[in-house]
C-alpha cells in the first residue's frame, strides 16, 4: 500500500517549494519541514544507525526526523520551518539516496552488529587492520557530512532571572504561571501555548509580566534545579540561561509506543504529533488510520475524526502484537489478525519524561541516584502522577527495538541478561541503548521493563541510567554564547 499524502482542507497558506534529495516538494509556508514532507507523502525521512531501517516522523524517536538542511547536519525536521528553496537531504546514505550502498547493512545478521559496529565479532583483531576499518566505520557511523567552515562567532546568550520558572506550556503550566507571584517565565517547546489544544484554549491569556518563551526547549537543570539552560529551536537564536527561585515542572505526559516490532516504522505517530499534524498543519496522519492506546486514548481517535481523518478503529494497546510494514506501516497484528492501515496513532500508555526531575534531585559519588526534589522545585499536573505501565503485548517480542536510535533489540538485551548482566548502567554501556538523540526517553523505560520481565523483579527496583543533559540539544554556537553569563563555582 502506498501513501500519497493527504492534506486536509481547513488550512490554506502560501505555497512554497523545497528540494528533498534534489526533488522538488511543494509545501505551505509556516509548516514545519516534517509537515511539508509528510503532507506530500514522504514517509521515510531517515535510515537507522546500524540496521539501516526506514525511520520517519514519530514524535517519540528524534533520530527518525533528523536530516541535513542547507548543509547543516541533524536538523530537527519537526522544528525547522519551511522556507522556499531549502535543500533537505537524507542522512546516513552513501554515496547517494538513490544508490545507497549502506542499504547492504540490512542484509547483515543482526547479531553481527550488536553494540554498534564496535564490539562485533568481525572487527579485525590486529591493530593494523583495525585502522582502515575504523575509518570506514567512522564514515558510516558519522551519518552526515560536517558543515562548512563558518567563521561567525558564538550567538550571545540570553540571561533571565525570575521568581518562578514554569517548564511546560500546556493547561497545567499555564495554571501554575497564573498562580505564581512575582516575575514568571514560561518555557514551551511548542510554537504556541495551550498544549494539545494547540492555541485554541481561551485560557491562554496570561497576566502581564509573564515572559513566554515559545519554541524553546529546556536543555537541562543544574545546581539542584536553580539554573535551567534552554535552547531556541532555531539554531540561530540564542541559548538561554534562566536563574529561578522556584521551578515548576509541568511537562505533562506523552504516549509511549508499545514495545513490539515495527513500533519505530514510519507512519507510527504519537498522539501529540498526529493531532498537531491534523489540527495545525492540515496534514492527515494517513488515509486509513488506526488508533491504539489506553482508555484515555479514545478521545484522541474522536478528535482526529472530527478533524477530518479517516479513523478506522480504536484498539486496546495491550492487544497489539506487532506492527507490520516495509517502508512504512501497512498493518497491525491484533489477536492473530492483521488489520490493514497506513498510519498508526498511539495514545497511551501515557508517561512523563523523568529527565528534569531527575536532574534537579539526583546526587551521588559513584553513580547519580534519583533523590527527593529540592523544596524550590515542584511537579504540577500529570507529570507528578505515576505513569501507565509500558505495553509489550502478551510476551516480550525479541525483534522489538528497545532503542531505535541505536538499533538495540530486545534480543540483544535478553542475551546479556542471560549472561548475568542486569545492571541498567552496564546494559546501557554494553548495548549503547539510550545514547542517541532521544536521550533514553522512552528507551530506558523499555530497558527497565525488559529487565523486570526477564528477572522477575519489580520494574520500580530496576531503576534507570543517569538522565544526563541535554534533554533537547543546544548547538555549540548557542552553548558557547552562554560562557560569559555563567559563573564558575569555586
Amino acid at each position: 500500500m502506498t501513501f500519497s499524502g493527504h492534506r486536509l482542507p481547513h488550512i490554506s497558506r502560501e505555497p512554497v517549494t523545497i528540494l528533498w534529495n534534489g526533488r522538488p516538494v511543494r509545501g505551505l509556508k509556516g509548516d514545519t519541514l516534517a509537515a511539508t514532507l509528510y503532507g506530500q507523502g514522504v514517509r521515510v525521512f531517515a535510515r537507522s544507525r546500524k540496521f539501516h531501517e526506514p525511520r520517519g516522523l514519530s514524535g517519540t524517536f528524534v533520530a527518525g526526523h533528523l536530516a541535513t538542511v542547507d548543509g547543516i547536519p541533524h536538523c530537527r525536521l519537526d522544528r525547522v520551518m519551511t522556507e522556499p528553496g531549502q535543500r533537505v537531504e537524507m542522512e546516513n546514505v552513501w554515496p547517494s539516496v538513490r544508490f545507497d550502498l549502506l542499504n547492504m547493512a540490512r542484509l547483515l545478521p543482526r547479531r553481527m552488529t550488536r553494540a554498534g559496529f564496535e564490539h562485533p565479532r568481525f572487527i579485525p583483531d590486529s591493530s593494523f587492520a583495525w585502522m582502515p576499518w575504523e575509518k570506514l566505520l567512522w564514515n558510516i557511523a558519522g551519518e552526515a557530512n560536517p558543515p562548512e567552515f563558518d567563521d561567525r562567532p558564538e550567538i550571545p546568550g540570553r540571561q533571565i532571572e525570575c521568581d518562578t520558572l514554569v517548564i511546560g506550556g500546556g493547561p497545567e503550566g499555564l495554571a501554575a504561571a497564573k498562580a505564581a507571584s512575582g516575575t514568571v517565565v514560561v518555557v514551551t517547546r511548542s510554537p504556541e501555548l495551550g498544549g494539545m489544544a494547540f492555541g485554541k484554549a481561551a485560557s491562554v491569556a496570561l497576566p502581564e509580566g509573564v515572559t513566554v518563551l515559545t519554541d524553546h526547549e529546556v536543555y537541562g537543570l543544574f545546581n539542584n534545579g536553580r539554573i535551567a539552560m534552554a535552547a531556541a529551536n532555531d539554531p540561530q537564536q540564542p541559548g538561554v540561561m534562566i536563574e529561578a527561585k522556584r521551578v515548576v515542572l509541568a511537562t505533562g505526559v506523552r504516549s509511549v509506543p508499545p514495545l513490539v516490532s515495527g513500533a519505530a516504522l514510519p507512519g507510527v505517530l504519537d498522539a501529540r504529533t498526529a493531532l498537531r499534524l491534523a489540527a495545525m498543519d492540515g496534514v492527515a496522519p494517513g488515509n486509513k488510520v488506526l488508533v491504539m492506546g489506553t482508555y484515555k486514548g479514545r478521545a484522541v481517535a474522536d478528535t482526529l475524526s472530527k478533524l477530518g481523518c479517516n479513523v478506522l478503529d480504536f484498539i486496546d494497546v495491550s492487544d497489539v502484537e506487532r506492527i507490520n510494514g516495509r517502508g512504512s506501516v501497512s498493518s497491525v497484528r491484533v489477536a492473530g489478525r492483521n488489520l490493514p492501515c497506513d498510519a498508526v496513532v498511539h495514545a497511551g500508555p501515557w508517561r512523563s519524561d523523568p529527565t528534569l526531575a531527575f536532574q534537579a534531585g539526583a546526587d551521588g559519588d559513584l553513580r547519580l541516584m534519583p533523590g527527593a526534589l529540592p523544596t524550590h522545585v515542584s511537579l504540577q499536573g500529570a507529570c507528578s502522577e505515576p505513569g501507565e505501565a509500558i505495553s509489550f503485548g502478551r510476551a516480550l517480542d525479541r525483534d522489538a527495538l528497545v532503542c531505535p536510535c541505536m538499533d538495540v533489540t530486545v534480543d540483544e538485551v535478553l542475551d546479556l541478561i542471560d549472561r548475568g548482566i542486569t545492571h541498567v548502567e552496564e546494559l546501557k554501556r554494553r548495548t549503547t541503548c539510550g545514547m542517541g538523540t532521544c536521550q533514553g526517553v522512552p528507551c530506558w523505560d523499555y530497558l527497565a521493563a525488559v529487565v523486570a520481565d526477564a528477572t522477575g523483579r519489580g520494574v520500580e527496583d530496576i531503576g534507570h541510567p543517569t538522565y544526563r543533559p541535554p534533554r533537547a540539544a543546544l548547538t555549540i554556537g548557542q552553548a558557547a554564547g552562554l560562557a560569559d553569563i555563567t559563573e564558575i563555582e569555586v
Partner: protein
C-alpha cells in the same frame, strides 16, 4: 547481593577499572592468578568509563615521557596480548600551542621526546594543514604531532580486559565496596567487605578518586584528591578531526570518535575539587567556546551528551605508583589524570615490581613518597590545572 568471597588471596586489588584489570592481567601473565578484584561501582562506572580516551607518549618532562612512552609501546601490543581488539588507533596526537610561551615549551618538549625515542614531529605550517585541515590555523603558534599517539575507546579495553581476567580464573566483583582495611603490626593484613574478611598478602589500591578514602581506611594519607571534571560529546559527523588533540593554552582536549562524535572537555582554572557526579551549567559553555574558536565548522552542530567524572590529581598531576612508605603490603596505582594513556604501561611495571621486587626507574619516578622527598614530577604540556592538582 554480595558474592561469597575467599578467606585468603595472595593479592587483593581494589578497583576494577583499567588500572586494576590490567594489573590483574599482567600479574596473571607472570604466573600469579590468586587475585581478587573488588569494585564499589559498576563496570565502567568510574573514570575508566568517563574519560576522553586519549593516548599519548610524548610530554615535556623526561619522567612523564619515560612512563607514558613505555605505555604507548604497551598499547601497541595490547590487542594481541589480550587477543581482543582494544581499538587502539594510532591516528596521531597533536599538542597545540596558541601562544609564544607555549610554543617555547613545545620546543623543549620536542627535544626531550626525540631524546627518548618518541616518534615526534614539530609541524610546519604546511604539515599542520595536512594533519589538521579543519582547525583554525591562524590561532596556532606551534604544534607537536606524536605519530604513535591516538585514542583507545575505553569500552573496548574494559571489555577485553574484564573478559580475559575472568578467563584466567580471577574473580572480579563489581558493586562490592570495601568497607574496611585491617592493619596488623605495621602491615595491611586484610580487606573487609561488610561482614566478610579477605586476608591478603598484598593489597593494591587502584580505585581512582576513591583511593584517597581507601588509604585513610588503612590509616595512611596519599597526596592526591578526587577532582571532578566534565566532558561532552557532539552529535555524530563524518570525519572532520583525525588526530587526538591537546589545546594546551585552553586546557582543553578533544578527539572525534569512530562513532563520529566530537568528544572532549575543558578544565577551568581556579575551580575547586567537588565530590559528586552532577553536571554543571558553567563548564559546557566554556568548552563549547574553545571548540567553536578552534573548529568553527561545529557552530551549528548539537551537543549529544555531557557528563562528569573524577581525576585524582597529586600536586604534580602525575600518578602514584608502588608501595606506601608508611605501611607494608599496601601498594597504589592511583593519582591518575592520564589513566587511559598510562594504564597499560603502569600495569606492566607494577606487575614486574610486585613479582620480582625490582622497581623500574620509570615507575620509581612516580613513587608515592616523591613529594616528601622533594621530588615532584612537574609537567608543562599536560592539560591539567596545576592549581587544581595542588588542591
Amino acid at each position: 547481593m554480595i558474592a561469597k568471597l575467599p578467606k585468603h588471596c595472595e593479592t587483593v586489588i581494589v578497583g576494577a577499572g583499567i588500572q586494576g584489570l590490567l594489573l590483574a592481567f599482567n600479574l596473571a601473565e607472570r604466573g600469579k592468578t590468586d587475585i581478587l578484584v573488588l569494585d564499589a561501582g559498576y563496570w565502567q562506572g568510574g573514570a575508566s568509563g568517563r574519560n576522553g580516551t586519549l593516548v599519548r607518549g610524548g610530554f615535556s618532562s623526561p619522567e612523564w615521557i619515560g612512563l607514558f612512552h613505555h605505555s604507548v609501546e604497551q598499547w601497541k601490543v595490547l590487542s594481541s596480548r589480550l587477543r581482543r581488539n582494544v581499538m587502539y588507533t594510532r591516528r596521531g596526537y597533536s599538542i597545540i600551542a596558541e601562544s609564544d610561551k607555549t610554543r617555547e615549551m613545545l620546543d623543549v618538549a620536542h627535544q626531550n621526546q626525540k631524546a627518548a625515542g618518541v616518534k615526534t614531529e614539530m609541524l610546519s605550517e604546511r604539515r599542520l594543514k595536512k594533519v589538521l585541515p579543519a582547525i583554525a590555523h591562524r590561532r596556532i603558534t606551534g604544534a607537536i604531532h606524536l605519530q604513535d599517539g591516538g585514542t583507545a575507546p575505553h569500552h573496548a579495553v574494559m571489555k577485553a580486559a574484564l573478559d580475559v581476567v575472568r578467563e584466567r580464573g580471577i574473580q572480579v566483583h563489581y558493586q562490592t565496596a570495601v568497607t574496611g582495611i585491617e592493619t596488623t603490626d605495621g602491615r595491611v593484613s586484610a580487606v573487609l567487605v561488610g561482614d566478610q574478611r579477605v586476608e591478603a598478602d598484598l593489597t593494591v589500591i587502584a580505585a581512582g578518586g576513591q583511593s584517597t578514602d581507601l588509604a585513610q581506611m588503612a590509616g595512611v594519607e596519599i597526596e592526591a584528591v578526587p577532582f571532578r571534571i566534565e566532558a561532552a560529546a557532539t552529535e555524530p559527523l563524518r570525519p572532520l578531526i583525525y588526530p587526538a588533540l591537546a589545546l594546551v593554552d585552553r586546557m582543553t582536549y578533544l578527539h572525534q570518535t569512530a562513532r563520529g562524535e566530537v568528544v572532549g572537555g575543558s578544565e577551568l582554572p581556579g575551580e575547586s575539587a567537588k565530590r559528586n557526579l552532577k553536571s554543571t551549567a558553567y563548564v559546557l559553555p566554556r568548552y563549547s567556546k574553545h571548540l567553536l574558536e578552534m573548529f568553527p565548522q561545529l557552530r551549528n552542530v548539537r551537543i549529544l551528551r555531557q557528563w562528569s567524572g573524577y581525576l585524582h590529581p597529586a600536586p604534580d598531576g602525575g600518578p602514584l605508583l608502588g608501595p606506601h612508605p608508611d605501611i607494608r603490603d599496601l601498594w597504589f596505582t592511583s593519582g591518575w589524570t592520564y589513566g587511559i594513556a598510562g594504564g597499560p604501561g603502569a600495569a606492566d611495571l607494577m606487575a614486574k615490581a610486585i613479582v620480582t621486587g625490582e622497581i623500574d626507574s620509570r615507575m620509581a619516578a612516580f613513587s608515592v613518597d616523591r613529594f616528601r622527598r622533594g621530588k615532584p614530577c612537574m609537567e608543562a604540556s599536560a592539560v591539567i590545572d596545576n592549581a587544581s592538582a595542588a588542591a
